[in-house]
């Protein structure tokens, strides 16, 4: 005899499998999608050099670090997988230089929030 709590987990897994195959169900399907978040480049020298970059904050998800990795500028996009739902996303920029002239680092205020709707 399986415990009652086992059944919902099985149903959820089945729904996810159907969605991934392009099928559906009358209940709200939980799907996952690749999402590309992008933003306009910052122009501060420190953001676009070693020790600089961006942080992408997606509500309910771990912060994504997008560091400068060489070349003329730090990357201005990142990809992640999100499941069905609505997510507020903000981006902040950072650099190694601090306001005392030291290397403790500085970070911008977050950008205006953008809402991602994943179907």
């Amino acid at each position: 005899m399986r415990s009652p709590s086992w059944k919902p987990a099985l149903l959820a897994a089945a729904a996810l499998a159907l969605a991934a195959c392009g099928g559906g169900s009358k209940s709200t399907p939980i799907t996952s999608h690749q999402v590309t978040i992008s933003w306009a480049p910052n122009h501060e020298r420190g953001v676009n050099s070693t020790g600089g970059g961006y942080q992408v904050m997606v509500a309910g998800k771990p912060t994504i670090n997008v560091p400068y990795a060489g070349g003329a500028a730090a990357p201005t996009s990142t990809e992640l997988t999100l499941t069905t739902g609505s997510y507020a996303v903000t981006v902040s920029a950072y650099a190694a230089l601090d306001a005392s002239g030291g290397g403790a680092g500085s970070q911008s205020a977050p950008s205006q929030a953008y809402t991602i709707v994943v179907p």
Binding site: S38, W39, E44, A99, S100, A113
Partner: protein, 623 residues
């Protein structure tokens, strides 16, 4: 009419009570704190410690050797990396009680100290304030105004935080900064090397000799007033050259755009031409230490809009009326253009200067604006007014020489009509012709500008005049006579009003200069006239002169210099919007500016350089 926003006399209010003595203050500021390399220490082992003992000490702490400084002759010193997850404090404590270790210390960071060697650098409190008194504010001849006495000395740390910024950048030559002002003495020893030289010009002259004249535009922007040269020096006097002062930028590209005449006044048409010339010739920062009241000047605003379209930052002065710009707009400060940043003046303790305008939605930041030492076109002679003057009067009241206490401290010596001056119930006489004049040598000057401050209360049809003529004789006989009031009468009591005249037609020999109050027979109750701050400014080539000035005009170029520095530091992609965001967001929160500016902040060079604007244009694509 637009005038430069400086305040030689600060529109000083007459009062008989002196202000309290300035107290020494210190602004606590987390600057210059000792920096250390995170995760690294230097360990000094005792002289008798064996190799095994040293190794055991390091093993006990989990630290790894980076280098043995003994290789360079520092026997017993070892540079180590601390254990993962251990703070530096924990790492230092781990050596306590170890019999092999004499002591351990952080690995401190030292930086080049970018203090320039300019002779008068110690007087530039706005760049580095260590609570120094500004001596040049008090070294005028006896009996003349003594500068801005409030908060002199001021508060250590109340400054633009430039020294750490100079560790990063001193060379702003890649960015052309235009000074729209009375011109620049481009031969000054502290400016010549930093002048723009586009099209084989240092700039243009869009102003006549005196305001209102329609002189044709020329390619010679020589300063015949002094104001523009002072402004240019604050932006970009050559730094670290051992002489004079240094600007925010040690090396710069300064375009001189003369839009104010020798008397310090200009017109919309001249200023608009100046803006367009600067923008079309590549300037990316405009300094406009000038302003005027009245209605919104659409043509002027449109010119600033063209600068905006060309991604040019326009830095402007708040005004020197000691008033709220929200109630009484001052332009260009109150123009709505987003590429414009408006600056209030701060004193040496970062209080708002008593002459500075403010505005919660129109004025953006504060910057040093009192007792500012900078370049000047030529020698300055200040006459104490107490000797050598020939005074005559057709009535009994005549001229008086008095010393008045100024609001905020200090005294002001003046000559005035009637005698006794500024005395309740005493008015000047009717049917009077009161004259006072003195002769001065103008030898050696290619041009001479004459400035003074006047407090005036004259009735209708009584006329206050100034006159001058070559030689020693009465200038009101055969000289150039300029009425300063008209048949309507005039009063500015109790405020003094600065007045500038071009004395070049007096030649280069002796020049007699005088004042006259002539009254009719109509009974009146007016207080008369007072003359103070009598100053001759000689304009010379290859000048080595400096001067100490007060005003939001002096605060504005500090911010324009910072805007230039920011654009040079971050490169050509750093936009006008980025610059203004960094200056506003990277400023130093200052109580005197809270609620009186859009930011409540003073311009802070290091803060602005380190400031990062919030990213924009966030979007997402779901696949």
């Amino acid at each position: 009419m637009t005038r430069p926003i400086s305040a030689a006399l600060l529109a000083a209010l007459l009062t008989l009570s002196a202000g309290p003595a300035a107290a020494a203050l210190t602004i606590p500021r987390a600057r210059g704190a000792s920096e250390t390399v995170p995760g690294e220490l230097i360990v000094k082992f005792k002289p008798g410690a064996s190799a095994q003992g040293r190794a055991a000490a390091l093993a006990a702490t989990g630290h790894a050797t980076i280098s043995t400084l003994g290789d360079l002759g520092a026997e017993g010193w070892t540079h180590v990396r601390v254990a993962p997850g251990q703070t530096d404090a924990q790492a230092l404590a781990a050596y306590a009680g170890d019999p092999n270790v004499e002591f351990a210390q952080p690995n401190f960071i030292y930086r080049a100290s970018a203090a320039p060697d300019d002779a008068q650098y110690g007087q530039l409190w706005g760049w580095r304030n260590i609570g120094q008194a500004i001596g040049t504010a008090n070294t005028q001849p006896a009996g003349t105004p003594i500068g801005y006495t409030t908060a002199n000395p001021g508060a250590s740390g109340a400054d633009m935080n430039l020294q750490p910024a100079w560790d990063l950048i001193t060379d702003c030559r890649s960015v052309v900064v235009a000074v729209l002002d009375s011109g620049v003495n481009y031969t000054h020893v502290d400016l010549a090397a930093n002048m723009w030289n586009g099209n084989a010009e240092h700039g243009r002259n869009f102003a006549g000799t005196v305001s209102g004249s329609d002189a044709a535009t020329t390619t010679d922007p020589m300063d015949l007033n002094g104001h523009g040269t002072h402004v240019a020096g604050t932006i970009g006097a050559v730094g670290n050259n051992g002489i004079g002062v240094t600007g925010v930028c040690w090396t710069a590209t300064i375009m001189a755009v003369r839009v104010l005449a020798a008397d310090g006044a200009g017109t919309s048409s001249g200023i608009i031409q100046g803006i367009d010339y600067a923008v079309q010739n590549g300037a990316k920062v405009l300094n406009m230490s000038l302003g005027g009241g009245g209605t919104l000047d659409a043509a002027y605003s449109a010119a600033i809009g063209r600068a905006q379209a060309a991604d040019v930052v326009v830095v402007v002065a708040a005004g020197n009326d000691g008033k709220d710009n929200e109630a009484t707009p001052v332009y260009p400060c109150n123009f709505p253009n987003p590429n414009l940043i408006c600056v209030a003046a701060l004193d040496q303790a970062f209080g708002m200067a008593n002459f500075s305008n403010w505005g919660s939605t129109s004025v953006d930041v504060g910057a040093p604006g009192t007792n500012i030492v900078s370049a000047w076109p030529g020698p300055v002679y200040v006459d104490p007014l107490n000797a050598g003057w020939s005074a005559s009067s057709s009535t009994a009241t005549g001229w008086d020489y008095v010393s008045l206490a100024l609001q905020g401290g200090g005294t002001l010596d003046l000559i005035g009509v009637p005698s006794p001056f500024n005395t309740a119930g005493v008015t000047y006489a009717n049917n009077s012709d009161d004259r006072a004049y003195a002769a001065f040598s103008l030898a050696g000057a290619s041009r001479t500008i004459f400035t003074f401050s006047a407090i005036v209360d004259v009735a209708a049809n009584d006329i206050f005049r100034v006159g001058f003529r070559a030689g020693l004789a009465d200038p009101f006989v055969g000289g150039t006579v300029i009425p300063l009031t008209d048949a309507a009468g005039y009063t500015n009591w109790p405020d003094f009003e600065p007045i500038t005249l071009d004395l070049s037609t007096c030649g280069s020999g002796n020049c007699a200069i005088g004042f006259q109050l002539q009254s009719d027979g109509v009974a009146q109750t007016s207080k008369g006239i007072g003359i103070a701050d009598f100053t001759l400014h000689g304009i010379y080539n290859n000048s080595t002169s400096y001067n100490t000035e007060n005003g939001t005009s002096m605060a504005t170029p500090a911010v324009a210099g910072l805007a230039t520095m920011l654009r040079a530091f971050h490169g050509p992609s750093f936009t006008a919007t980025d610059v203004i965001g960094a200056i506003k967001g990277g400023g130093w929160a200052t109580a005197s500016l809270s609620g009186r500016t859009t930011t409540g902040r003073a311009a802070d060079a290091m803060g602005a350089l380190a400031f990062i604007n919030p990213p924009k244009g966030v979007t997402a694509v779901v696949r």
